[in-house]
């Protein structure tokens, strides 16, 4: 969850907490924010769950909002890594499948992370850097889909839109896994991932078909 180059305590000096106070805070906040929401999670709660004093939060983060942004970016970073890991040699569809599968596994192993990025509305809480990091994540998917469009695999229309369409359905499945309604091995994710592809796939049923008007 945390990247080494971001933790200031890489000095090896620690007083009595080999597990890392900062990491404990990050975990506590992540879990509370994603289960009870940002505003209902209080700093006393976060501290208690992390097993530290309230003031300790502010030794590691400037503010509660800063804490949110830090964990948000760390989460986005992890999700983005999964996108970049999908080999560019594969077809668009295969790459999306890889990405979905990686995220699915993440939703199983670290549900809070998925919730934080995809299922929580953060309003004005995210700073520009955090917004930018999410935009980059979306852009990575967009690039995959854009190549799919050039290859005739994906429908005509804005690649951005098909990105959001694909994401909306993948996230639907991830949410169910994160909520433990579905397991990773369940058919559900599989079916929904396929539906996600079908929603953006080029075919005789694609956009512009006659008779599709409302």
């Amino acid at each position: 969850m945390t990247h080494p180059q971001e933790t200031p305590r890489a000095t090896g000096r620690r007083r009595r907490d080999p597990a890392g106070t900062r990491d404990r805070l990050v975990r506590a906040a992540l879990e509370l924010f994603t289960t009870h929401g940002y505003h209902t999670s209080t700093t006393p709660q976060i501290a208690r769950r992390a097993g530290v004093a309230e003031g300790t939060i502010y030794r590691h983060f400037d503010s509660k909002e800063h804490l949110l942004n830090e964990i948000y970016r760390a989460a986005v970073r992890l999700l983005t890594a999964a996108v970049k890991d999908a080999p560019t040699s594969l077809s668009c569809r295969a790459r999306l499948e890889r990405i979905a599968a990686a995220w699915r596994d993440l939703a199983g192993s670290d549900p809070a992370l998925i919730k934080l990025v995809f299922l929580t509305r953060h309003g004005d809480l995210l700073d520009p850097r955090s917004r930018e990091s999410f935009t980059q994540l979306r852009d990575e998917i967009s690039k995959v889909i854009a190549t799919g469009k050039s290859a005739g695999e994906v429908r005509s229309g804005s690649a951005q839109v098909w990105t959001d369409v694909w994401l909306a359905l993948v996230v639907l499945a991830l949410e169910r896994i994160a909520n433990q309604d579905w397991t990773v091995q369940h058919v559900g994710p599989q079916q929904v991932f396929e539906a996600a592809w079908d929603a953006i796939e080029f075919g005789e049923r694609g956009a512009g078909r006659p008779g599709a008007g409302l």
Copy 2:
């Protein structure tokens, strides 16, 4: 937005405010909750926007949470009405198109309403009645989709799942309209609605196709 049987002033007698104090509060809360969120909208703000004193809120609602639940249910009621208005004589697909179109128009004319129901996470704020009202809304769609499944129009698999899949994409379009990214006449909603149908439609590409594994 408000149903007569819910307002305590059903007496028909109005003292000095023909617009209805309660309605003004409902409007104010609806707009604030959907733009700034529940927790960041304060009762002073709501009262000021409604043009009444702070205490007046509690003459019409037991609490801020109760106010949220009231407007939430009123919103769900409106959306549900649109579902029921789609004639059962039509095909599944046609009925879904009607529903989507009705909601699309609503998103154009009353964006806050759409946001409240579909785009705001309410956490533990909604009471059982409110949750139930949303469940009913979803069930209405489910029924439509279940008939589509019997008719071979919709893929095999849980009708509930295809309901959520269809909803996820329709909501995606509604959000863009509510945010004024798209107008009601835009191609966007059209394309996405079609994708929503393709995502649940039965076809040779449907679930269970070989080679779809991850």
Copy 3:
């Protein structure tokens, strides 16, 4: 202490506190700030002394700092009024005596007020308006002294400087009265006020006298 045109509750509507909650807060703050200092006087203390709840402070003042500035300006206003009340027909010396006497009486009847303006260092706590109000007070004295200088009553040199010199000694006496070391009728104030005049009076001993060098 408070001017009618500044209190927003001139409506005559009051719930249960005919004495005026705002005035009680002003009094409490004035006394605490001048006895224990601004930083050591806490909002719980102020509220308790005023006999109200802590939150009530913020119904009347934007912040603790705002509260300080309000009472500061009110105090300066009172002191300035005393300056303006001294008839311009009198000699410089007589006017200064009138002013000193008025302030002396004020120090006896409302010591906190004198302390707030003359004896407390407010650092960066005062806003521009408050600083300006004090500057005006000093300028009023300066004008009196400037006329004295034109009339040959006061030494040559900056009228501003003689203002501060005169003020420094008058304040010395006021402080002793405010601290109840001296009463209003005591010789002390009298002697010091005379010394204050002698310090700025033009005479054969005035500035530039030979042998005065260090």
Copy 4:
């Protein structure tokens, strides 16, 4: 600024900081206290400015308050030394001139020191020893003035009072120098020092003159 008998490291052995950690802390605190005030200067700030860790403060001082008292007494000691340096053989007036001149130079070379003793209100922060040390300083001046009174140079009335009167004006000039409004060579200090003497000098205009009543 620091006296050897007060520093705990009187061993003569210095580990790695020839400048003296304690002295650095004293300097940092002196400057911060006199520019931003005691309460607004935090221990992190003091430590940072001294270039040491926060905990190091407590290796040299029991508490922040103790630190204040230490530097306060050191400052008073320096000012007192200047008083004692004025030869008793001189006239009262000449001795006061010497003292004022010595302080004036100090205000130019070490303004913070002057501010700490004469311009900062310390409320209940000073311990009995510190108060005593200031009392001694004042008593030294009082003694000078008392001899002046016996010699008929100074007005009748309490020597204590004339001490405070003289001090008030001298401090007025010192403040301007410390704030760099005036330089040491400026006429201002000169004029004000003379006024200070005139305020306490015996003369035909002295206390008890007829017509001086308010």
